[in-house]
């Protein structure tokens, strides 16, 4: 009889890595090599996570500061003076230029540093080797470099916050000429330079990470882990990495050309400009060109942020509904389709920029097509819940929250993708509501779900469930209260990135809604401290986790509670089945992990699966003499 206890077999690869096993190369060196310049994917994942959490707090705090301005325009902000100094005017108001810098940095931090690096960096790194059955990433060294480029990039971006002229202030999309001309706004001086340098390093980090993820997924899957047996998380990370690899270099080129325009007198994006009393010599450039380049990354970026979150929640929802994810292949197909389409919809951000209207028609068609695979994903999530046996762990709650945001925020894309309707809605709060729900909050919830779900694997301890649930409810309701009212404000035409609306009669209303939004934003930010406490407390004093606390099927739960370098103390388990055999009819328990062969579960095998038993021995996993 075959045995499930594959990991008790002695190590075939000799990559045994207990700290006290001194019989081979030392991975558990001193503090520096273990925690700082580590090449272990799990440590790197935690580094990304902690850095991401730092950025998320900072990004959230910046948003609360500008929400104070928008919700309470008459409030005296003198009490912020110790922190913001000269950015608070003598009248106790926020400086309008600093307001723009806050908006810009909030966007940059959240999109790139939290939801790209913090999310993909954490979970791609942590889960890819563990879920496909690999000892580590294809290149541990490149992986380490990826984090340290991100770290340097973070330091530079953080430094820019303390400049005399303030950080970049032209919006996170940094459209030139505003971002190219220091005469136009203070933030376009040193702040913008640091922004560009930081982003260039960030892109390097992303590419180093992405190449690693792709290589690892293609080459390092354990025996039996065919592509069609990969968990949806891995599919999501795989597509994300490919999208990033193809689109980030385009942002790099845009940044590079902008650096040329700013520093070396070229005219890629500048033409016919008269500013600060003089006509600039630049002619022939086009600001629209920059927008094309920017959104060629910018739109795929939305999916770079979103797909990992969708992957994480697919896994968490299946596990906690105790059901196979509905339409596994349709989920992969829709992600693939979304991934491809994400490259040919970018100009829907540009319907009213003066771009040729015919181009607008084409992009409108392509954009609304992308709604179809997105809708399929939502329907599949909902059907997975149907007749499930749902455990509301914090991870599950956040995943359900994600689906809800994905629906609420995604569906308003039907208006914005329609160029005729976008004329009115473009750059209003309707857009703000749309992308904060579908991209910001949905991805953020995916990230939170991932942290709660994989915390036991990361730190060997459980997070407090009750606190996690309280965190979820305050955040879930808070996020809806922040972003749902913005739809009304947007339909009323309120433009975004406005310091105040009092100059306009048309936009004089909604003081009440804006106040509600700001209060909800403060409450939501405050609730994150519950998470912070829970997170750090549980690292040290949380309940010790069992090896597979969620009764999950995927391979990472076959590792010991405290995973060492190399992940499995013995041989890497082989894989015999897909990861979603939950509540299989006839099975003893309501889950059958991936490493259990069909030969051991004759009671629950489906007709086709009995035939696969014959093949199992040829997988090399079960020694021939035992058969």
């Amino acid at each position: 009889m075959a045995t499930t206890d594959i990991h008790v077999h002695s190590a075939v690869h000799g990559h045994d890595d207990h700290g006290h096993d001194h019989d081979h190369e030392h991975h558990e060196g001193n503090f520096w090599t273990k925690y700082i310049f580590s090449e272990d994917h799990k440590v790197i994942a935690k580094q990304f996570l902690i850095t991401g959490i730092f950025w998320a707090l900072l990004g959230g705090t910046l948003s609360v500061i500008f929400r104070l301005q928008l919700g309470f325009p008459d409030m005296n902000l003198d009490w912020l003076k110790p922190v913001l100094g000269g950015w608070i005017t003598p009248e106790g108001k926020l400086d309008p230029e600093f307001y723009l810098a806050l908006v810009t940095m909030h966007g940059t931090i959240m999109v790139f540093f939290v939801l790209t690096a913090g999310l993909s960096g954490t979970f791609s790194n942590f889960l890819i080797p563990l879920q496909i059955g690999a000892r580590d990433m294809a290149s541990g060294f490149m992986n380490m470099l990826s984090y340290w480029f991100f770290f340097v990039s973070s330091v530079i971006m953080f430094t820019s916050l303390f400049l005399q002229d303030g950080p970049a202030g032209g919006g996170w999309v940094i459209y030139p000429p505003l971002s190219a001309l220091p005469q136009a706004i203070k933030g376009s001086g040193m702040g913008m330079t640091l922004w560009l340098v930081s982003m260039a390093l960030f892109i390097v980090s992303s590419l180093l990470g992405g190449i690693n993820y792709i290589t690892t997924v293609i080459n390092m899957r354990t025996k039996g882990m065919s592509f069609t047996r990969m968990p949806l998380t891995i599919w999501a990370f795989f597509f994300t990495a490919i999208i990033g690899l193809l689109s980030f270099p385009v942002l790099f080129s845009a940044a590079l050309l902008l650096i040329f325009d700013r520093s070396f007198g070229t005219s890629f994006f500048l033409s016919d400009i008269y500013i600060a009393g003089e006509a600039l010599p630049n002619v022939g450039g086009s600001p629209i060109l920059f927008q094309h380049l920017f959104w060629f990354l910018g739109h795929p970026e939305v999916y770079i942020v979103l797909l990992p979150a969708l992957g994480l929640s697919s896994e968490i929802i299946a596990t906690n509904a105790r059901k196979p994810i509905f339409g596994y292949k349709a989920m992969i197909g829709s992600m693939l389709f979304i991934g491809i389409l994400s490259f040919i919809v970018w100009a829907h951000h540009m319907f009213v920029t003066g771009m040729n209207p015919f181009l607008g028609s084409i992009f409108m068609l392509l954009t609304l097509i992308i709604a179809v695979p997105s809708a399929v994903k939502i329907f599949n999530y909902v059907t997975t819940l149907w007749q499930g046996n749902i455990r509301f762990t914090p991870g599950m709650l956040f995943s359900i929250g994600l689906v809800s945001f994905f629906l609420t925020g995604g569906i308003t894309g039907v208006f914005l993708g329609n160029s005729a309707l976008d004329i009115q809605l473009h750059d209003t709060y309707f857009v703000v509501a749309h992308f904060h729900l579908v991209m910001g909050s949905a991805s953020f919830f995916g990230m939170m779900a991932g942290v709660y779900h994989w915390f036991p694997k990361m730190f060997g301890r459980m997070m407090d469930e009750r606190l996690g649930q309280i965190h979820f409810w305050i955040t879930f309701i808070g996020v809806y209260l922040v972003f749902f009212p913005m739809h009304y404000i947007g339909i009323a035409g309120f433009p975004r990135r406005y310091y105040s609306w009092t100059n306009f009669e048309t936009f004089s209303g909604f003081a009440d809604l804006n106040m509600l939004v700001s209060i909800a934003a403060v409450a939501t930010l405050a609730a994150q401290f519950i998470f912070l406490f829970n997170f750090f407390y549980s690292i040290f004093r949380g309940r010790v986790a069992s090896a597979n606390p969620w009764k999950s099927n995927t391979l990472e739960w076959t590792t010991p509670v405290n995973v060492g370098h190399g992940n499995w103390p013995g041989a890497i388990p082989n894989v015999y089945r897909w990861p979603y055999d939950y509540s299989k009819p006839g099975a003893k328990d309501d889950y059958i992990p991936q490493h259990i062969p069909f030969s051991e579960t004759p009671e629950s095998n489906l007709p086709g699966e009995n035939e696969q038993i014959k093949l199992e021995s040829s997988d090399g996993s079960i020694s021939p003499d035992k058969h």
Partner: protein
């Protein structure tokens, strides 16, 4: 002192929270309650989702209904009425889909809470279902796309030759309008290198005779019932023309003139009557972030009847008349034509014109 008390208060409250957390945790451990599969309060969250869904939907429909007039702007253009119609049709489709899916999802979370004695249904796929919910959204979306495309194509089609042309120029942080003048009804050519700080804010090229009667306005005046073609440009950075009541938006791009055509349907006076607000004014805003004063880049907009509009135009002085020193930039041969065109009395200025001529010939 006050902040110290607040600080101490906060610390106290946090300490109390922490103690509650510790005590409940220790009690849990003492009870030996180490939940195997689900915690005892698992079902609560299914109920909470149900409550949230009902509360949320009620609030959504109530607010949308009760405050409809607050968040909808009256529409005052032909294409705006059309796109508004399309907006509300899309809204009906979207809200229907949203409500149905939301209800189904949260009912499921309520209905299928964990029960130890029940096993979930093993239901990995169903091709008919998947096909259905791929095709239905695709069909609905294509219907919306095609109506949208039709409007978009009409909106962006070239303006008619009779359209009333107005040039809008964005700069940090103000809008200026230039009208082609009543004599030739043609906008003169401009060149950004001719812009100066002394008056030629448009960069008017005075060797072009079309520029002589152009006039400037700091308010946008347009007639109702006649097609208007906005020619839009920017001097320094990106700006965006936003006329919310007319559903008009188009970026102003340095180096790349853009345009937008529309027909206003209601004069300011009519709108004042319709809204019951005697102080109602149309406004134009900037919707592309352009720097410190972005939020204050307002231009007043006045919609006249066509007759009033013609009258108003007649009262406007040509730019050249307001800035007679620029006459010297006009080629000598065209100077008299320029004065006539700009409405400058030729006799009264002949002396100064002569002196200009002399100055030029000396050079």
């Amino acid at each position: 002192m006050m902040s110290l008390i607040i600080g101490i208060g906060v610390v106290l409250v946090l300490t109390i929270f922490y103690l509650i957390f510790r005590v409940s945790r220790l009690v849990g451990i003492a009870k030996g309650k180490d939940p195997d599969r689900v915690s005892s309060s698992n079902g609560v969250h299914g109920n909470l989702f149900m409550l949230f869904m009902i509360g949320g939907l009620v609030a959504f429909f109530w607010y949308s209904w009760a405050h409809f007039d607050e968040y909808t702007l009256p529409v005052a253009s032909i294409h705006g009425a059309e796109t508004d119609m399309l907006f509300w049709v899309s809204m009906a489709v979207v809200v229907a889909a949203f409500v149905i899916i939301t209800i189904i999802m949260f009912v499921f979370t309520y209905q299928y809470k964990y029960d130890e004695n029940r096993k979930a249904k093993f239901y990995p796929d169903n091709h008919y279902l998947e096909l259905a919910w791929t095709i239905i959204p695709a069909v609905v979306l294509s219907l919306l796309i095609f109506t949208g495309l039709k409007s978009w194509n009409e909106i962006t089609s070239p303006a008619s030759a009779e359209a009333e042309v107005v040039e809008l120029v964005g700069q940090q942080f103000a809008w200026t309008a230039r009208y082609p003048g009543i004599k030739d009804n043609q906008l003169g050519t401009v060149n950004y290198r001719l812009i100066d700080n002394y008056g030629n804010e448009f960069g008017l090229d005075l060797s072009d005779k079309n520029s002589f009667d152009d006039f400037k306005s700091l308010e946008l005046h347009i007639p109702a019932g006649k097609e208007i073609l906005l020619k839009i440009r920017a001097k320094d950075v990106l700006h965006s023309v936003f006329l919310p009541h007319f559903r008009v938006k188009m970026d102003a791009v340095p180096g790349m003139p853009t345009n937008f055509k529309f027909t206003a349907t209601k004069t300011t006076a009519q709108m004042r009557e319709e809204t019951g607000n005697p102080n109602f004014n149309y406004e134009m805003a900037c919707t592309e972030v352009c720097g410190r004063g972005h939020f204050s880049m307002k231009m007043a907009v006045v919609v006249h009847t066509q007759d009033e509009f013609e009258e108003w135009k007649k009262t406007q002085e040509a730019w050249l008349k307001q800035n007679p020193t620029y006459l010297e930039k006009v080629p000598a041969g065209l100077r008299e034509a320029a004065m006539i065109s700009a409405g400058i009395p030729v006799e009264s200025l002949s002396t100064s014109a002569q002196s200009v001529n002399q100055a030029i010939s000396v050079n």
